[in-house]
């Protein structure tokens, strides 16, 4: 891939300049990502109990029970129509569950709106990357950080208050550049997000989600439509982030990818959790094989 080569060239070129720029700020030796990870509290963050979602007469999720452990990379797999996306959308507040509870960090978040769920540190990405096309990559990034003073209208407009907004903006901008560098897409900062390739959009979306300082990240098919070299890059990033303390729940079609990279795998089928466990246990489970390959295997 030629664009990967360009990335690397851009990154290596930047290194010495960055080092100089950081001299008067000794704390910034940690990357943003690592710093944020230190705040992550120790708890079992996400629990779903008896989740049910009906659309008219169709039961998309019948009875879903799952929990995600702190600091884990949990995979959620299942054949088409198993209810993965519905479960995902119920957790993130896009759909209101018909029944059941969702607990996040010990708090019942069932039925909260998507923004309220995200504010609590449970942040998602989308199956088809939803970048904000007519905004630059940098603007996309700067949107994400929470508690921005300038999101209040009067602070953005009134002369004195605007100065404090500007100060925070400078800090936000700095963090966004750090994150863009971490994901090696800083050379695209001024590009319209709509001009990015599919894989670059996925990187942008993950980077943007990280800027909201989440504790758990829900990734909806992060590898769909991503070429192999970018896929391994994305995986490296996810592994790095996991090591620095983030928790991931990944919905994915590709069995092999999940089996190779997740330490905990949840398999869904026909609206319920079929089984869960370590990849090796799941791989040899009869019910899973049956679900994926069809009922005939039985005999």
């Amino acid at each position: 891939m030629s664009d990967t080569e360009v990335d690397e060239a851009a990154v290596t070129a930047n290194v010495p300049e960055d080092a100089e720029a950081e001299v008067d700020e000794p704390e910034t030796n940690d990357s943003t990502v690592e710093r944020e990870a230190k705040h992550v509290p120790n708890a079992i963050p996400l629990k779903v109990r008896g989740l049910r979602k009906e659309f008219g007469g169709i039961v998309a999720a019948a009875d879903v029970n799952l929990s995600v452990e702190e600091g884990s990379l949990t995979g959620l797999i299942g054949p088409n129509g198993a209810g993965k996306s519905t479960t995902f959308n119920c957790i993130t507040g896009v759909h209101e569950p018909t029944a059941g509870q969702i607990h996040f960090q010990g708090e019942d978040i069932t039925g909260l709106s998507p923004n309220e769920v995200a504010e609590r540190g449970l942040v998602r990405t989308f199956q088809i990357a939803r970048e904000l096309e007519e905004m630059s990559v940098l603007e996309n990034m700067m949107l994400a950080p929470t508690n921005q003073r300038g999101e209040s209208l009067w602070r953005s407009v009134l002369p004195v208050a605007r100065e404090s907004v500007k100060q925070q903006e400078a800090a936000v901008l700095e963090r966004c550049w750090e994150m863009l560098e971490f994901f090696e897409i800083d050379h695209l900062a001024h590009e319209y997000a709509g001009n990015l390739s599919g894989g670059q959009r996925k990187l942008l979306e993950l980077a943007r989600a990280l800027l909201t300082e989440p504790s758990v990240l829900l990734l909806d098919e992060p590898f769909a439509g991503v070429n192999p070299s970018l896929e391994s890059r994305l995986l490296d990033h996810i592994n790095d982030l996991q090591e620095s303390g983030y928790t991931f729940l990944i919905v994915e079609h590709d069995m092999d990818l999940i089996m190779e990279n997740c330490e905990h795998v949840i398999v869904m089928h026909q609206g319920t959790v079929l089984t869960e466990g370590a990849p090796d246990e799941v791989r040899t489970n009869e019910a899973v094989i049956e679900a994926y390959l069809g009922g005939e295997v039985d005999g």
Partner: protein, 457 residues
């Protein structure tokens, strides 16, 4: 660097041109020069020239203000508001009711009073009423998808007009005051916004002396005051236009504006980043409606009278055309669109008609039949052209339609639509992180787009 001299000058010129304010001043100045030039060709007297300039500036300013307010709704937040005129009507009617002189005895039919409050209070009241009304509309309607929201807004603006027409609200007694909306015959605005302002600043007498002496010097003939009133009201509106522009630029180039833009692009994705998009939408809609109310007040306050039928959806679509010409999403573009619309599509046809009829001595025909028959029988197009020119005012809407079709085909994004007005308080122009750190964040306030070389455009 001896050979850098030329490059330096052109670079500096380019930097001045890159400044949005320069573009706007050049555009408005150019339009004025064109009108004055055409007036000179027509042998306009000084009085006529000044009148024409005053009127032109008035329309440039009001359409630019309205386009700016609509840009906040549509260009930034993606709210499809086609009820602009309704919010303007609310603004001016509330101002009228609050500030018309008080009547405490049963008035004669057709003369309806108000609360007799000072005009500035009436204006504030009108703006607040438009804002509150906007918020009320927004609360239920913002749950709707863009196209349904549009239907609600146009419906609301018509409901406003029919309410104003309603005879049972024509006159009533509130707290002993005889007030009302005047029904179909409308309201007479017995306050004078131009004189009121002069009185408030305390310069009414010097102003009268000045206009008298200036009028004599310029040879304006009798009663020069209305001419100068027109000019000074135009200047007054330009001040408001500058305030609108500064305010909306600040709103746009801020984290608040960034969220609005994000809502326009993809509301669900914005929610997923923890932004309470409904709150932002309501705020944006309310502010925009307040500004539309204010623009409505400034538009109609010095017209002497208002009737409900002036508030047909026509003006809404004029404002939309202005915004489309300028380019939705750009505040500078909105002002440009407003100016171009007012000068060439709104005032232009009438002016052109005068120019043509003055320059070519052609005999106008009065009916369509008389215009068409020579064309068919003798292939003589002159009567047809004369007829068309004579009816140019009526053809105004056709010209607007053709302009829109042309724009949609060839430049759907408008003059400045697809360009970046960075949605941040600090310049985003650095090429890497180190650039940004080196640049002092307070030096430029987004007002100067000093950067031309980032390949964004």
């Amino acid at each position: 660097m001896s050979d850098g001299e030329d490059g330096d000058v052109s670079e500096r010129l380019a930097a001045v041109w890159a400044n949005d304010v320069t573009k706007l001043v050049v555009l408005v100045g150019g339009i004025l020069a064109l009108y004055v030039g055409a007036g000179t060709l027509l042998d306009y007297g000084v009085r006529q020239q000044l009148n024409s300039i005053g009127l032109l500036v008035f329309y440039v300013a009001v359409f630019a203000m309205l386009a700016l307010a609509l840009n906040l709704h549509w260009g930034y937040t993606g709210l499809f508001n086609i009820g602009v005129i309704g919010f303007m009507a609310i603004g001016i009617y509330v101002t009228a009711v609050l500030s018309k002189s008080a009547t405490v005895t049963e008035p004669a039919a057709g003369s309806i009073g108000g609360f007799g409050l000072p005009l500035w209070l009436g204006i504030i009241g009108g703006v607040l009423a438009a804002a509150v009304f906007g918020a009320l509309v927004a609360l239920p309607a913002l749950r709707l998808r863009a196209d349904y929201f549009a239907i609600v807004t146009v419906g609301v603006s018509e409901i406003v007009r029919f309410t104003l027409l309603e005879s049972s609200l024509q006159q009533m007694q509130v707290f002993g005051y005889f007030i009302g909306l005047g029904g179909g015959s409308g309201l007479i605005l017995d306050f004078d916004i131009t004189d009121g302002l002069l009185d408030a600043v305390g310069v009414a007498d010097p102003y009268a002396t000045l206009t008298d002496s200036l009028g004599t010097t310029l040879g304006l003939g009798g009663n020069p005051k209305p001419v100068f009133d027109g000019l000074y009201y135009g200047a007054f509106l330009l001040v408001f236009l500058v305030l609108f522009y500064v305010l909306l630029r600040r709103v746009g180039n801020s984290p608040f504006g960034r969220v609005l833009k994000a809502i326009r692009e993809d509301e669900e994705a914005t929610k997923s980043l923890g932004k309470d998009t409904n709150r932002f939408k309501i705020k944006s809609f309310t502010i925009g409606c307040a500004l539309m109310g204010l623009a409505g007040i400034l538009f109609y306050a010095e017209q002497g009278a208002i009737t409900p039928n002036a508030f047909r959806p026509r003006i809404t679509f004029f404002v939309w055309i202005a915004l489309i010409i300028g380019g939705a999403g750009s505040n500078t573009g909105s002002v440009m669109g407003g100016a171009i619309f007012a000068a060439f599509l709104f005032r232009g046809p009438l002016f052109l008609k005068n120019v043509i009829q003055e320059s070519f001595d052609i005999e106008a025909v009065s009916t369509f039949g008389q215009a068409v028959s020579p064309l068919i029988s003798g292939l003589n197009p002159v009567p047809m052209l004369a007829y068309a020119v004579d009816n140019l005012a009526q053809l105004q809407l056709v010209i607007m339609g053709l302009t829109l079709i042309y724009l949609m085909h060839n430049r759907p994004e408008g003059l400045l639509g697809h360009r970046q007005e960075p949605a941040a308080c600090v310049p985003l122009t650095g090429l890497s992180r180190s650039d940004t750190v080196a640049a002092p964040p307070t030096e430029t306030d987004g007002g100067v787009a000093s950067n031309g070389g980032d390949g964004d455009e």
